[in-house]
Symmetry: none
Subunit: 223 residues, 2 copies
Amino acid sequence: MSRILVVDDEFGIREIIKKYASFEGYEVKEAEDGMKAIDMALSEDFDLIVMDVMMPELDGFSACKEIRKHKKTPIIMLSARGEEYDRIHGFELGVDDYVVKPFSPRELMMRVSAVIKRVQGTREESDVFSYKGLVVDFSARIVTIDGERVNMTPKEYDLFFYMVKNRGLALTRETLISKVWGYDFFGDDRTLDTHIKLLRKSLGEYSYCVVTLRGVGYRFEAE
Amino acid sequence: MSRILVVDDEFGIREIIKKYASFEGYEVKEAEDGMKAIDMALSEDFDLIVMDVMMPELDGFSACKEIRKHKKTPIIMLSARGEEYDRIHGFELGVDDYVVKPFSPRELMMRVSAVIKRVQGTREESDVFSYKGLVVDFSARIVTIDGERVNMTPKEYDLFFYMVKNRGLALTRETLISKVWGYDFFGDDRTLDTHIKLLRKSLGEYSYCVVTLRGVGYRFEAE
DNA sequence: AAAAGCTGTCACAAAACTATACTATTTATA
DNA sequence: TATAAATAGTATAGTTTTGTGACAGCTTTT
C-alpha cells in the first residue's frame, strides 16, 4: 500500500488528513516543519507528500525545492486561497497538484489517489534484460559484460536489441534484414553474416548466445 | 504479436512511431484523424491505441470518449507540453497513459510495452507441441528429448515439423516431397527414405513415432 | 582538412548439408 | 518358402550455406 508523508505545522490539520488517509488504506507519516520534511522525504521512500506552504522555520516551497533536488516523489501542496497562487500554478517547482485551504478532506483524498494512480501508471519501468554477466539496457542503449561497457556500433545495437527482444525465437534472415535494415534493403546477402560476426566479436564470451540456424537465420538464446 | 493503432494528423509522427513499433515487433496501423480512428478501433481489434490529442476534424479526447463507449482498448495519449488540464482530463476518460510531446520514441515504446504487458498480463502464446519427453518448439525451432537438445539439419527440421504439424495423418510420399522439398523437386525416389532414416536417428527413443505406411508414405504418431 | 569510425560488398575458406548410388533388410503374396 | 517389391541403412561426392578478413565509400569527429 502507498505511503504518504503529511507536512503541516498545525497538529489538527495533520490529524484530520491522517485520519482520512489511513481510512483509505494509506500508511501515513507526519512532519511538522520543512526541515523535518526534507529529512524524512530523503531518508525514506514515500509515494506522495502532502505539504502545506505556510510553515515556520522552512516554508513548503523551499522544502519542496530541496526535496526535488534529490528525489521526484510526487508532491501536493496545500495553501490558503490566493496565497502564492501564481507560484504554485506555474508549477515551476514541479508540484503535482495543489489544494486550496480550507479544503474538504474528501476532495484532498481524491487528488491524492489521482496523483498516485497517475504517477504509478506512468512510472518508468526499467527496460533491462540480463543474463549472467550480460546486461542489456534498452533505454540507455548500453550493453555491459561483467560490469564492463561494451562498445557497439549503431547497427550492432539495432541488430542485437532486435535479437534480444525476440530472444528464444527463430529469426529468419529475411526477418532480421527487414526489421533491422528496413524492408527496402536489397543489399548483399552476406551483409547480415558480417554483422553477426561483428556482433559475436563484441559479445566475447557470450558469443555463443547467437545461434546459427542453418538455412533459416539466427536465434538469440540466453538461458 | 500485438497490434497497435497510431493516430496522429502528422505523417512524420506516425512514421517515426511506426518505425520504432515495428522494430519492437508490433503490427502497426495508422489513422490520420479522430473519425478514422474510431472507425478502425471499432471495426478491428487492437491491443493498444496511441493517439494525439490535437487533431483537426475530431480531437483525441472526443475520439477516445467515443471508442470507450464500445471498447476498452488501452489508449496512450500524446499531447503538447504544459497542458496539465488535458492530462487530468485524459485520465478521467480512462486513458491508460500519457506522453508529452515532443517525446522520445524510446520512452514511448517503454510506455507502450508497459501498458500492453499490464493489460495482457504477459501472456505469451508459445507454439509448442509435446508428447512425453519429446518437445517441439516451432517458433524457436528447437526439439528436445528429455530436456536434451536435439540437433537437426534444416531438412530434418522441415520434414519433422511438417509431420508433427500434421500428426496422426497419413502423409503420402508425394505429399511429403512436394510440401517439404517443393513442387519442383524431381529427385531420386529414395531421398525421402534417407531423410526419414536420419530423422528417426535423431529422434532416438521416439523414432517409433515415425510410422511407415507401406506403399503409401509415413505418419507421425504421438499418443 | 585529416583522422577515425561505420557499413556494405566481395572473394575465398570452412563447415554443414543433401542427393544419390549401392547394399541390406523387411514385407506381401503366391 | 521363394520371389519381387518396398523400405532401411551406409558411404560419399558435390552442393549449399555460413564464417571471415580485406577493403572502399561514407559519415562523423577532431
